[in-house]
Structures are given as C-alpha cells and as structure tokens.
C-alpha cells in the first residue's frame, strides 16, 4: 500500500495503536507496584498510629509530677522517672560518638586521601564486615570483654584523660568553626568598608585563644568534679554505661567512616591538585581543603551515627548493666537503662508486661520519644546531605 502522492508507505491509526495485551500487562505491573508502595506506607502509618494511641493513654493518665526527680525507673511499680532513662541514653550516645567520631573520621581521611587502591581494596571490606556484625554479638563482646578488660581494668583516670583530651579537641574545632562563621557575618555587615587590617585580625585571634582556654578549663573542671562526685567504681565483669557506649561506638565506626569517606571522595580532584600546586602537604590538603569541602557530608555522617547510637538496643540491653528497672544515675561507670534498653527489657521475658496501671503504655511513650528524637536527627541530616549535593 503506497500513497501515490508521496511515494511513502501509507499507514492507518491502527498501526500506531498499543496492543490490548501490552496495555493489560502495563496496567497489571503498574498496579502491583502501587500496591507494594501502599502496603509499606500503610504499615508505617499503622505503626505510628498504635504508637501514638497507646502513648496518648500514658500522656493523659500519668501523674506528671511523678516523672521527674524520682528514685528511678521502675515501670512495674508505677514509677516512671524519665531522667533515669534519658540521661543514660545521652551518656551512651556521647561515649559512642567520642569513640566513633575520631576513629571513623580518621579512617575516612586515610581511605580517601592516603590509601592506595590496593590498601583500600582490603580495608574497605573489613570495615563492611564490622558493619555487618550482629549487634547482639557486639553487645555480648561489650559485656564480657570491654566491661571487665577496658572499663574496669583501665580505670577512670585514663578515661578522664582521654575524655578531656577529646573534649578539648572538640571545643577547639567548634570554636574555630564558630569564629570563622562569626567573622564572615561581621564582614558581611561591614562589607562596604572592608579594610585589610591585620591588627584587627590579631586581636580577634587573642580573644579567641583566651576564650578557648577559659572554656576548656571550665569544661575540664566540670568533668573532674563530675567524676569525683558521681563516679563510683563498678565490680569487674558487670556491665556499665561506659562499656555499652564503647560497644555502640564500635558499631557506628563503619557508618561514620563510610558516609564521611563518600563525602570526601565526592570532592573533585581538581581541588587536591590546586592545593598541592600551591605547595600544601597532604595533611594540610586534607584538613584545610578536603574536610571543609566535605563538611556537610561529614556532619551528616555524625548526625546519622548519633541517631543510630540513640536507637541502638541490643548492645545497651546486654552491656548496660541494668535489668528492666534502674535507679537514677549519671555516672557512666554505673549500670543504667537507656530508653531502648528500658523498652526491650520491659517487653522481653516470659511474662506479659504486667505492673501497675500504665506499665504497658509507658513502653509506647518511650518509643514515641525515641521516634521523635531520631526523626528530628534524620531530618537535620537530610538537610546537610542536600547541601552536600548542591556544593558541586
């Protein structure tokens, strides 16, 4: 069939129509996938709903004055002292980040800036193995090895020194970031009459150093006081918040390392060349160019790791050194209950959750608080990751 006028083969609309069979197949595929999406969304919504409704019961019926300043967290006796589980959660998270932050970031810098492809090809799988260790194994390790060998044996003095050093380092870094931001703000305000004046730079530098020294000293005194007054030593082999914190820290190292390394690997090579071309050593390039350029990704790594540490359950449950109830403590060398451990220990066991009044509902309330904290952290992290994508 040819069109006489053009010489082209003529076609009708039916030639270009979709075949009914294909249309049906497309439709089935499309709707199956839609169902998959809807199911997961609905399950999440239902979980949230049950969490909210049970937690609501607790919120409405609990005597709020009893949730603060009590002896401890004894849900089966109807004593819900929230600080008893909140503070250990923060202690464990802080210790975990003190362990995982420097180690993870150091590993990331090494992998991204120093390691040759051969070294990287066998170190990265090892890190991934670390990430794949079931947390129950790590919890057991924390209880049976970290607690007696590290926490009990090395003792509080060493922890005091290490803790102080790391705290000081954090303060220095934070202060540096703060002052550069401040300087930027200041110069933006006086953008027009920006004058190149080294004298001003020096005075700000002196104020910065002085305030840093004072801040570090205050922090140090605070930590000394804290350890002196609050820390009692624990018998060897018992679990403690410190042991649990170190265990959680080990668990989160690969997370910090891999997310930070991704961020640093995303920094274009041209910046490394530019820095090297100006006579910078490798370490200078890493600390002055690569880490600042990847900062939003690194911050995101820290936030995600923090959220992971807060939500970690098995390690703190096994190595935290408390059963389903705990007295109020703020010493990392005591046993204690984190929020997750409190939930797990209450919900586990052979009996149903029994106790006075709101025991069952308290579980959901703690879960809700946990959910809100990690949700908030993940949202913040997502914003940082988005900034990372914009950068280049």
């Amino acid at each position: 069939m040819t069109d006489a006028s053009t010489g082209l083969q003529a076609i009708t609309a039916s030639h270009l129509q979709i075949s009914p069979l294909r249309r049906l197949r497309e439709m089935v595929v499309r709707h199956t996938l839609l169902v998959a999406v809807l199911v997961s969304v609905m399950v999440s919504a239902l979980i949230l709903w049950s969490l909210l409704s049970e937690a609501w019961d607790f919120i409405v019926h609990v005597v709020w004055s009893d949730t603060w300043g009590q002896l401890g967290w004894f849900p089966r006796r109807g004593i819900y002292d929230i600080p008893t589980i909140l503070i250990p959660t923060f202690i464990v998270t802080l210790i975990a980040m003190i362990v995982a932050g420097p180690l993870g970031l150091g590993a990331a810098i090494y992998l991204s800036e120093y390691a040759g492809s051969r070294v990287r090809s066998w170190i990265k799988p090892i890190l991934e193995i670390l990430a794949g260790i079931p947390s129950v194994v790590l919890g057991f390790f924390a209880l049976t090895w970290i607690a007696p060998n590290l926490v009990a044996r090395i003792g509080k003095n060493v922890f005091l020194i290490i803790g102080l050093a790391i705290l000081a380092a954090y303060v220095v870094v934070a202060a540096r970031i703060a002052t550069t931001q401040l300087k930027k703000l200041k110069s933006r305000a006086t953008d027009r009459e920006f004058t190149v004046d080294t004298g001003m730079e020096n005075t700000t530098w002196i104020t910065l150093t002085a305030s840093l020294v004072v801040l570090t000293a205050v922090l140090a005194m605070g930590v000394v006081w804290f350890i002196d007054v609050w820390v009692d030593f624990i018998p060897a082999s018992a679990g403690s918040l410190a042991a649990a914190g170190i265990g959680v820290g080990i668990l989160t190292i690969p997370l910090v390392a891999s997310v930070s390394e991704d961020a640093m690997a995303a920094v274009p090579n041209s910046l490394r060349e530019a820095s090297a071309g100006l006579g910078a050593e490798k370490m200078t390039t890493a600390t002055n160019v690569i880490v600042p350029a990847a900062l939003s990704g690194i911050v995101a790594a820290f936030i995600v790791a923090t959220s992971r540490a807060i939500g970690e359950t098995m390690v703190v449950f096994l190595a935290g050194g408390a059963a389903d109830a705990s007295e109020f403590t703020i010493s990392p060398f005591d046993g204690g209950l984190t929020m997750t451990a409190a939930m797990a220990s209450l919900a586990s066991g052979t009996d149903n959750v029994v106790g006075e009044g709101l025991t069952f509902q308290s579980l959901y309330f703690v879960g809700l608080v946990l959910f809100l904290i990690t949700l908030g952290l993940n949202l913040v992290a997502a914003r940082f990751v988005a900034r990372l994508r914009e950068a280049y």
Binding site: K183, T198, P268, G277, G279, V289
Partner: protein, 292 residues
C-alpha cells in the same frame, strides 16, 4: 652545560628580527643560552606500562613565555605537569630523565615536591577555586607556607596582578564560587601568584573562558612575564602566536603494531619561526590547519 647542545635554541630576546630564518634552521649554529632556567633532558613519562611521552628535551629561559602546542593526546599537559612534579599525584605515573631547575634535578631523591611547587606554581585548565572566601583562596598558599602576617597585602597585590582587585575588593569575604568563570580563573592566577613563584605553569588556562575573559588573561600574562617565567599549554594556535616568545610543537607518534600513541617533541623555536617557517613538515601541517 656547554656540552649539551641539542635542542638549545639561540634566540635574540626582545628583537623581532628573526629574519635570517635559514640560519636558525642550521642546528649547528645553536649556542648554549646563558639564562636557561629549566632544562628537561630525555624526559619519559609512563602511566603503568604505557609510555605517554618519549624523550623530551626542552630548555626554558628566564622571563620568557613558552607555548606548548600540539594535537590532543600528544602529551603536552603531561610534560607541563612534570615541571612541578604534579604527576606524582597520579598513581602509577613514573617519570624518567632529568628536569633541572636552576641546576638542580627536580627528580632527585632528596627533592621535596612540596618545595618544588612553592617555586613553580600552576594554573589549571578548569578554574578550581576552593569553596572558601576570595581572601582565603588567595591567602591559601602563603598560609600553608607558614606565613601569618601581611596576608592582606599579599592578597591585594596578587589580586591586582591578576587584574581582579577592582572587581572583588568590596567582597573579599564572600565565596569564590560566586564569581564568574573568567573571574574564577583570574582568582586562580592570583592564588598562584600569591606564593611568589619563579615559574608559572598554565595548563590551557583559557579553554573554559569566553573571548573577553581570554583577552584579559592574555594581557595579564604579558604584564606579569617580567616577574615570572611562564609555560603555557594551549590548543589555540592564535593564542600561542599572540603571546609566546618560544613555541614547542608536540605530536603523537602512532605505533602501528599495537596502536599506542606516544607524545614526542617535534621542534621548538622562536614563535615567529614555528608559525611562519617551521622546519618540520608535521609542524607545518599542524599550524596551517591541515592536520589536528
């Protein structure tokens, strides 16, 4: 120095009279130049087993602009990056032969590439400012060299040299990434100039820029050449003809057996000669546009 005469170019600096072209074609007439700053001898660059550049010997005199031209893949950028040991950053890259800078072999075991790069600066093909403020970009080099005082002066002088000061003096603390492409490249030149190098290596500095920005940078090179010795890789033959004193033409030697390409230096000479009366047929084909 006197005994190595190969490929040493005798040139009358400052004089445009290279009228006696035939004599400069007589290699026998070459003499050793007094002011040779950089001398490459039998330089070979390997990436793994692959030889990228073969037996390049090239002299660079003080305060001249040397243009490296040639078709893509002829190894001219690779050669340029030998002068500040930038190839060290590439895994598996290996350089043989010697490059002497003021008589010192840059590839000597005791030579620290960091020190080399503080004397031999580099501007890259794509503008690559750090994601920092304009001020911090320019002050980066002096800072990593340990300088703490007088940075503001250095920044101002460098930005003035790069003809960027007037455009950015009111926003030295805003991000360098907010500048236009041409401004960013001038910033990179200012940044390279801030370490007060002896030699400036420029790897196609204008390839990402529009003609106006290009003109500004060419103008800039002419003004700063009294302080520096400049080596520039360019794809733009008009640019080489406009700005350089000496031109080196590279091409790639195709090994038909295994289809590998190795960069070689065909000839080097005063820019006027290379463009008006090259001694090698391959050069002539290239500069007249018949090839490449």
């Amino acid at each position: 120095m006197a005994d190595s005469t190969e490929l040493i170019i005798e040139r009358e600096r400052g004089s445009t009279i290279v009228s006696d072209i035939s004599s400069s074609h007589d290699e026998a007439a070459f003499e050793v130049a007094e002011d040779v700053l950089l001398r490459a001898e039998k330089v070979n660059v390997y990436y793994g087993d692959f030889r990228a550049v073969k037996d390049v010997s090239l002299d660079v005199r003080q305060h001249e602009i040397l243009a490296l031209i040639g078709p893509s893949g002829c190894g001219k950028s690779t050669v340029l990056r030998c002068y500040n040991r930038m190839n060290d950053l590439i895994k598996d890259a290996r350089v043989t032969g010697t490059i002497s800078y003021r008589g010192v072999n840059l590839y000597d075991e005791e030579v620290d590439p960091v020190e080399v790069r503080r004397r031999i600066g580099m501007v890259f093909q794509k503008p690559n400012p750090f994601p920092k403020s304009i001020f911090d970009n320019v002050a980066y080099g002096p800072r990593v060299a340990g300088q703490k005082k007088g940075l503001s002066e250095i920044v101002e002088i460098s930005l003035r040299k790069a003809a960027l000061w007037d455009e950015v003096k009111d926003r030295l603390n805003s991000s360098a990434l907010g500048l236009s492409g041409g401004q960013q490249q001038r910033l990179c030149i200012a940044r390279a100039v801030a370490i007060d190098p002896d030699v400036l290596l420029m790897d196609e500095p204008c390839s990402a820029l529009d003609p106006i920005a290009t003109a500004r940078i060419e103008e800039l090179m002419q003004t700063i050449k009294k302080d520096y010795t400049i080596l520039i890789v360019t794809h733009n033959m008009q640019q080489a003809a406009r700005i350089s004193d000496t031109t080196a033409f590279f091409t790639s030697d195709v090994e038909t057996r295994n289809d590998t390409r190795t960069g070689i230096l065909v000839e080097v000479g005063p820019t006027e000669n290379i463009f008006s009366n090259p001694s090698d047929e391959r050069t002539e084909n290239y500069v007249t546009g018949r090839f490449g």
